[in-house]
Amino acid sequence: MEIWMNSVEELVKLIKTKKINAKELQSYYQNRIITLDEKLKAFIEYKRDYQKPKSPLTLEGIPYALKDNILALDTRTTAASKMLWNYHSPYNASVVEQLSSSGAVLIGKTNMDEFSMGSTTENSAFFATKNPWNLECNPGGSSGGSAVAVSTGMVPFALGSDTGGSIRLPASYCGVVGLKPSYGLVSRYGLIAFCSSMDQIGPITRSVRDAAFILNVISQACPYDSNKIDVHKDYLKDIEEPVRGFRVARIHETVEKNCDSLIRKRFEEAVIKLQWLGVKVDSVTFEQYHQAYPVYKVLSNAEASSNLARYDGLSYGLKFKTDDKVNQSAQTRQRGFGQEVKRRILQGTMNLSQPNENSYYKQALAMRSKLSKHINHLLTIYDAIISPVSGRTPGKLGENLNIHQVEPYDVHTCLANLAGIPAISVPMGYTEKTPVGIQFMAARFADDKLLQIARAFEKTAGFYEDGFYPAPHLEGIQDA
C-alpha cells in the first residue's frame, strides 16, 4: 500500500506516532503533483518549496489543495478566468484561516469551470482537467481539479465549492467522497461568489470519516459571513453508530427518466445494500421535482449577474487598455469572460430585468420556497433522501462544450442547494470505466446524521475494503 492511499485520519496517526514526518509527507505529495499533473491538469498553481505549517495541531502539517475560487494569501485566485488571471489574494478565506490554524498546509490551487459555471472542468479559461479513470473523459465539475487531486492522491484532501452540485458531481465521477454541507454551516467569506444564496464550501476526501474530520475544522465559528450559523457539533462523534431502523426515501422521479441504465443498476444495488443495514427504503413521488433545475438556473444566473458585476477591470484583475475610457470596462468584460459566463450573465440580467421581474425571477423564488417546503416536509418523515448524483456518465472531453444542447448533469444535485440542506456523494460502483456516486440528502443542519448514514453505506458498499476506495490506474500517466 502506498502512502497516498491513506485517509487524512491515518496520516495524522502516522505523523503522531512519528512513522513519518510532516516535512517528508509534504514533499512526497508535491512530488506526486509534479509527476502526475502534467497529464491530468488538476492544478492551476502549486507550491514546489516547503510550506511551513502555522501550528502543529489537529492536522499536523497535512497538505491540502483549494479550488481556485477560494482566496489564500501568497496565491493567485483566478476562478479559472482570464478576468482574474493576475489577481493576488489580498486576504485569507475563513476556511483557509481555520485549516491553517489547525495545522494543515496549502500546497496548490485546483482547476475548475470558470467562476464555477459548468459541470465538466472544461470551461476553465486555462485548460481542461482529465478524468483519471478514463483520460478521454471529463472529471465532472465545477470542482473537477480538487476531485482529481484527491482521487489520484496528489493531496490527501481538498476543498471545493458547490452551488448546484459542483462538489458532488466531480466526486462521483472520480470515485471519492464529496460533501456539500448545510447552507450556513461553513463560512463563505473568501469564496468568490457565484450564487450567494446557494454557494457552500465543502471537503472532497477519500472517506466519509475524513469528510466529517475536515468539516469539524471548517464549520468553526466565523463572524464574517452573516448567514453562518454556529452549530457546535462533533461530526465524528456518532459517525459509526448503526443506522438500523433509519427511514430513507428514494424519489421516484430521479431514476424514472433520463437515467443511464448502468447508473440505475448501481443505484438499485445500493438500495439493497442499505436495506441489508436495516434501513427502510420507501419510494416517494415528488411531482414538482423537475421544476428544481429550471428554478435553479433562473436564480443562480440572476445572482451571478450581480455577483460578477464587480469584475470591471477598474481596480483589479484584467484591464483592457484602450483610449476609449467610456467603454473600457465593457471591453474588459468582453475579453475577460468566457462564453458560458457571458451567456449566464446575460440570462441572469434578463431574468432580473423589470419586464420579467414578476415573471421569471419572482416565479422562481416562489417555486424555490415551495420545493424547499416539500423537501423539508419529506425530511420530517425520513432521515435521508437518496438518488444517483447524476443520471449521466461523464462525457468525452470536448463533447460537452455546448452545454445547453445536452441533458444537464446537475438536475439531482441542485435541489439540495435550493433548500439549503446538506448532501453528500459517496462512491457506489462503476459504470464502464468511471466510478459513479450515490447522493444522500438530510435535513438542514442534520449534517451529522447525513454523515452517519453515508458512513454506514460506505462500509457496506463492497468495494470499500480495509478503509480504502480503489484508486485509478495511474501507471500510464506516470510513464508519460
Binding site: T77, Y189, Y224, L352, E357
Partner: protein
C-alpha cells in the same frame, strides 16, 4: 394658475464609528484610501456585515420623522455600473424601506406646514471621485478615494408637497437640524455629509396640464437649493409649453459656478434590477427595541426653538441661529440659569458668538464656562473693568483655563479710575508731545481724539474713555 411642485431626496451620512458593512473607520476626511479594507473596496469573496449602530441611528431618525417603522430590516441590491461603486451594485433598501409615511414640519416663523416623508431607507455611500492632473503627463485624470465607500447613509424621500423654492430650503434646513439634534449626522453641508437632490415640475391647476420634471443632483447648501430651484422654476415657466410631462431632465449642481449644468448621465430610465441582498439575513425588530430607542431621543429642536422664544423672549431668527449651534444653545441655557438679564443675552449672542465666528471654534473647544462669563459681567457692571476691555478679556477667558478673577489680577485688567494717576499719565503725554499740546490749546480741537488715543494706549484700555475726556478737558481746557 401655475403651481410649483417640489420633492426632495436627502442623503445624510450617519455618525457611526465604523462603516455600514465593514469595520473600517467612518471617516472620509483622512488621507485618501487609508480607511479601506477588502470589503469596502469590493474584493472578490468578501461579504457585508451589518453595523448595528447604523440601524439604531436610522431608527432614531425614523422615530423623529414620525415614520411607520418596518419590523423586518431587509436589504436589496441596486445593480448598475458606476466607476465609484466597486461591487457593481449598491446595498440599499428598496422593497421594504426602514420607515414609511412620516412627516416633518417646516421651520418658519409665520406658519407651520407639514410635509409628508414618503420613506426613509438605509444605504451605503459610494467612493469619491477626485479629478486631478497627472504630475507626469499633465493630463486630467480620475482617482478614486474609497474612504467614503461604504459609509452608512439614510435617504429621506419627501412627498412632492413643497410649493416654493424657499419652502424647499426651509424644509431641508428643518431636516438637517433634526438629524444634528439626534446626534446621528454631523451635518457638515460643506463636506457633503448631508446633501440633497431636488425635483421640480409645474402644474396648471385650471387645465391640469403638467410640465416634465427637472431633477437637480447633489446640492449642499440651503441657499444653493433655493437658488437652483428658483432658476429651474423660471426655466419651466418659460418652457411651459415646450417641456411636456413625459420629459425629464437631470442636472448637476456645480459648486464652483453655483449654477446647474446638464448631467453627464444619460437620460434613460434606469433598470436597477433590484433583488434581495442574499448575503444579509433579515433582521427582526422588536417593539421594545424601538421604544427603547425612542426614550433615548433628547428634545426635538423645534420644541427647543419654541422654548427659547417663549422663555427668553428671543426673536425667531435669533433663536433659530442659536439652536443651529447646539453646543452654544446648551451653553446659553446653562448661563441663563445663573443670570438671565438682557446684558447676559447680548454678551452670549453678540460677543461670544463673534469670538466663535472669528476663531472658528466651537464653544466646547474653548475654556469658557457660564460661571466665568457671569463673573466677567459682574466686574463690568461694578465698573471695575472698562467696557472697552470686554472683548479682550473674553478672548483671554476663552483661551486659558484660569478663573476670571485670576486673569483680571494677573493681566492687569482692573480699571484705572483714580484721577491723580490719570493726570500723571496725561502730564507725561503733554511733556512728550509739546507741539500737539500747543496746537490744541491754540484751538485745534480735533486733536482731542488724538490725546484720547494716546491715553487709551498708555493705560492699555483700562480706563473709561469718558473719564479720560473729562480729565483732558479739565487739564487742557476745551469745549464741554
Amino acid at each position: 394658475m401655475l403651481k410649483t411642485i417640489i420633492g426632495l431626496e436627502i442623503h445624510a451620512q450617519l455618525k457611526t464609528q465604523t462603516k455600514a458593512f465593514c469595520n473600517c473607520a467612518n471617516d472620509s476626511q483622512s488621507q485618501p484610501n487609508t480607511n479601506i479594507c477588502p470589503i469596502c473596496t469590493g474584493q472578490p469573496g468578501t461579504l457585508p456585515r451589518v453595523n448595528r449602530m447604523m440601524i439604531k441611528q436610522a431608527i432614531k431618525a425614523a422615530i423623529a420623522f414620525n415614520g411607520k417603522i418596518s419590523h423586518r430590516i431587509v436589504f436589496d441590491r441596486k445593480n448598475y455600473f458606476s466607476a465609484d461603486m466597486p461591487k457593481g451594485y449598491q446595498i440599499t433598501q428598496h422593497q421594504q424601506p426602514l420607515a414609511q409615511n412620516g412627516w416633518v414640519e417646516i421651520l418658519n416663523p409665520t406658519r407651520k406646514k407639514k410635509i409628508t416623508i414618503n420613506e426613509i431607507h438605509l444605504e451605503e455611500d459610494s467612493a469619491r471621485t477626485i479629478k486631478k492632473k497627472d504630475p507626469l503627463s499633465g493630463k486630467e485624470k480620475y482617482y478614486l478615494d474609497f474612504n467614503r465607500s461604504g459609509i452608512p447613509l439614510i435617504e429621506i424621500v419627501t412627498a412632492p408637497e413643497i410649493s416654493s423654492p424657499k419652502e424647499a430650503a426651509e424644509l431641508f434646513e428643518a431636516i438637517h437640524m433634526i438629524l444634528v439634534y439626534l446626534d446621528i449626522c454631523d451635518g457638515h453641508l460643506e463636506l457633503g455629509t448631508i446633501r440633497t437632490d431636488a425635483n421640480i415640475s409645474l402644474l396648471n391647476s385650471q387645465t391640469g396640464k403638467r410640465t416634465g420634471r427637472v431633477e437637480i443632483k447633489n446640492i449642499n447648501s440651503f441657499k444653493n437649493l433655493e437658488k437652483a430651484l428658483t432658476y429651474e422654476e423660471e426655466f419651466l415657466i418659460d418652457q411651459f409649453h415646450n417641456f411636456p410631462s413625459e420629459k425629464a431632465l437631470t442636472k448637476d449642481w456645480d459648486e464652483k459656478t453655483r449654477a446647474t449644468i446638464p448631467s453627464r448621465d444619460k437620460e434613460t430610465s434606469c433598470d436597477y434590477r433590484y433583488f434581495e441582498e442574499p448575503d444579509l439575513p433579515e433582521i427582526r425588530l422588536e417593539h421594545e427595541t424601538i421604544s427603547q430607542f425612542a426614550q433615548q431621543i433628547s428634545e426635538n429642536p423645534f420644541e427647543r426653538l419654541e422654548r427659547l422664544i417663549h422663555d427668553y423672549h428671543l426673536r425667531f431668527d435669533i433663536a433659530k441661529s442659536l439652536i443651529i449651534d447646539r453646543p452654544l444653545a446648551d451653553f446659553f441655557e446653562q448661563t441663563m440659569k445663573i443670570l438671565s438679564t438682557d446684558e447676559m443675552k447680548h454678551l452670549i449672542l453678540r460677543d461670544v458668538k463673534a469670538y466663535l465666528n472669528h476663531s472658528g471654534k466651537d464653544i466646547v473647544q474653548t475654556h469658557l464656562t457660564p460661571e466665568k462669563l457671569y463673573q466677567l459681567l459682574k466686574y463690568i457692571k461694578s465698573g471695575q473693568i472698562a467696557p472697552t476691555l470686554k472683548t479682550k478679556l473674553l478672548k483671554t477667558l476663552c483661551e486659558t483655563p484660569k478663573e476670571t478673577e485670576t486673569i483680571i489680577e494677573e493681566e492687569n485688567f482692573i480699571k484705572i479710575d483714580d484721577q491723580d494717576s490719570l493726570l500723571k499719565i496725561l502730564e507725561t503725554v503733554i511733556k512728550e508731545n509739546e507741539e500737539q499740546y500747543e496746537a490744541y490749546i491754540c484751538g485745534k480741537n480735533e486733536l482731542l481724539k488724538w490725546f484720547i488715543g494716546q491715553m487709551i494706549k498708555r493705560t492699555k484700555g483700562r480706563t473709561d474713555p469718558k473719564l479720560i475726556i473729562r480729565i483732558i478737558k479739565k487739564r487742557m481746557g476745551g469745549i464741554e
